[in-house]
């Protein structure tokens, strides 16, 4: 029941008009136009673009980047959340800020740092060349850059959740004789599973959609080191708009699925 005093109808109408107008212009119209552009020449060309070998290679690369980075960051996120919420120690606040760091770093810089480490002129550059190992301009570099960018996502999702849940349940388990793993598995995990799932989904969406960082690290070698976003860029720059938007539509569907997942999980989380 909305018990707040009523606003004058004029204010209501104007506020709704502004809000809808703004949202429409900024979010809805762009969303619609992705699909309009993708299907502007019909389903055939769309499908042709989507099933093109280069696109499929890009899909493979995107999956590799995601599979390489998401599980690691998930494990890290769980570990960090446990450390920070179930224990108190000097430097805890600092650690929390450090975890948030990649969140505030420009994606391009996230890629740059790895070039500086593993590029030809990088610290390890000569050593890598000697051993004929490629990190940048190859899939390991993509994974690293993606991992860097998506580093905080799972942790950021779990930490407030676990902070709120407190330590009482785990203390009870320990007093009943449970060990670390058991306590986590049987006591903590059931409570955080929806938050964890959401964190993973978000991490994955960001991993698959990352552009700036992988752009720097990839070298744009078509068919080999392109993820879906990079592939879309290439097609766009070649004026293959239908192709570019076809790829974009796939990514938009991924974003839409992420948002829908959030809606569902939010319902579960608020219970």
């Amino acid at each position: 029941m909305n018990r707040h005093p009523q606003d004058p109808p004029l204010l209501r109408a104007v506020a709704i008009a502004i809000a809808l107008g703004f949202l429409g212009l900024v979010v809805i119209v762009p969303l619609v136009s992705v699909f309009a552009q993708a299907f502007s020449k019909g389903v055939g060309p769309w499908w042709a673009a989507v099933s093109h070998p280069d696109t499929l290679a890009a899909v493979r690369m995107t999956l590799i980047a995601a599979l390489g980075s998401v599980p690691l960051n998930t494990a890290f996120g769980i570990s960090a959340a446990w450390l920070v919420t179930k224990h108190r120690f000097p430097g805890r606040r600092l650690l929390l800020s450090l975890i948030d760091l990649p969140f505030s770093v420009s994606p391009v810089i996230s890629g740059l740092v790895f070039i500086l480490l593993f590029g030809a002129q990088g610290w390890f550059g000569p050593w890598l060349q000697e051993h004929d190992l490629k990190i940048v301009f190859a899939w390991p570099g993509m994974i690293l850059a993606t991992a860097f960018v998506t580093f905080p996502f799972v942790a950021r999702e779990l930490i407030p959740l676990m902070e709120e849940m407190g330590t009482r349940d785990e203390e009870a388990a320990v007093m009943l004789g449970a060990g670390g793993w058991d306590t986590f598995r049987r006591v903590t995990l059931p409570g955080i599973r929806w938050g964890l799932l959401y964190g993973v989904i978000l991490c994955n969406a960001r991993a698959m959609g990352e552009f700036g960082a992988v752009s720097v690290v990839s070298g744009h070698i078509r068919g080999e080191t392109n993820t879906l976003p990079l592939h879309a860029e290439i097609l766009y720059n070649e004026y293959d708009f239908t192709g570019a938007f076809a790829v974009a539509s796939l990514l938009t569907l991924l974003a839409a699925a992420t948002v829908v997942a959030k809606l569902q999980l939010e319902r579960k989380l608020s219970r």
Partner: protein
């Protein structure tokens, strides 16, 4: 100190280890590299005309976009929270789209929309307004990117805003407009500021959404991340590093500021 809950050493090792490996070392590499430059050279790079205008472009457009979001964001939040218009659940979910959508998709979509032949661009052309390849275009893209930050910071404050405060103002004789401007808006100001700050921090380093629509003309519409990439491509690692280091310092400062604001905000709301 004997800890009640297990797993401290283990999670400390994993957390700090992964943090150092993935984030610490790469960032340290960057800073060390920048620090190894003689001061004069560093200053020279930074005061270069092209670099300076890239700073101006990036920070200026980010500030403008944050300001726009600071004005429209609260209106959107207010409409969603106070007026349960039909479809408000979907609209609420849409606010997360800029957060979940890959930046490259946003980039090519907005460019196509605002090009002179695009849906919106064609409407603006007769008015003499050009969006693509101008700083206005950058602002448009950044408004999209920064939208969720202000709305999502203001929403919870609005949701928790006690009806009694507004009732008290009415009973003391204030008209609805007076209540809104003297009582509600000032109470929202901290949230709006925090959201605008977070939006600003995110937009300064934004790459994918901007690089398509900007036109990337040096000294005019070239953003800092792009300048860094350009320098990289020209193997001018030193220049790229210097610029990146300064950007990072600013980002960290903004991150700290934003966190402190958020903490204070959380403290206020919970009381």
């Amino acid at each position: 100190m004997k800890r009640t809950l297990p797993g401290f050493r283990f999670t400390l090792f994993i957390t700090v280890g992964w943090l150092v490996l993935l984030v610490g070392i790469p960032l340290a590499g960057l800073f060390l590299r920048a620090a190894s430059l003689p001061l004069r050279e560093l200053v020279g790079i930074l005061l270069d005309e092209r670099t300076l205008s890239a700073f101006r472009v990036s920070f200026g457009t980010a500030a403008m976009a944050a300001a726009i979001n600071a004005i429209f964001g609260p209106v959107v939040a207010w409409t969603l929270v106070r007026y349960r218009i039909p479809g408000h659940r979907i609209l609420d979910a849409l606010i997360d789209i800029p957060f979940a959508l890959p930046t490259a998709v946003a980039g090519i979509t907005l460019t196509t929309l605002y090009a002179e032949t695009g849906w919106i661009g064609s409407l603006l052309a007769p008015l003499g307004v050009r969006v693509s390849y101008t700083q206005l275009g950058i602002v448009v893209a950044l408004v999209f990117v920064g939208l969720p930050f202000v709305v999502r910071t203001v929403q919870p404050v609005l949701e928790d805003f006690p009806a009694e405060t507004e009732e008290a103002a009415a009973l003391l004789g204030a008209s609805r407009w007076q209540t809104l401007f003297r009582v509600v808006l000032p109470a929202l100001l901290p949230a709006i500021t925090t959201g605008a700050l977070l939006s600003f921090a995110r937009c300064v380093g934004e790459y994918g959404s901007v690089v398509f629509i900007a036109g990337n003309m040096p000294n005019e519409t070239e953003i800092l991340p792009l300048l860094i990439i350009t320098r990289l491509e020209q193997y001018q690692y030193t220049e790229a590093t210097a610029i990146a280091a300064v950007m990072l310092l600013v980002s960290f400062a903004l991150l700290l500021l934003g966190n402190r604001f958020q903490a204070r905000l959380a403290g206020k709301v919970s009381r």
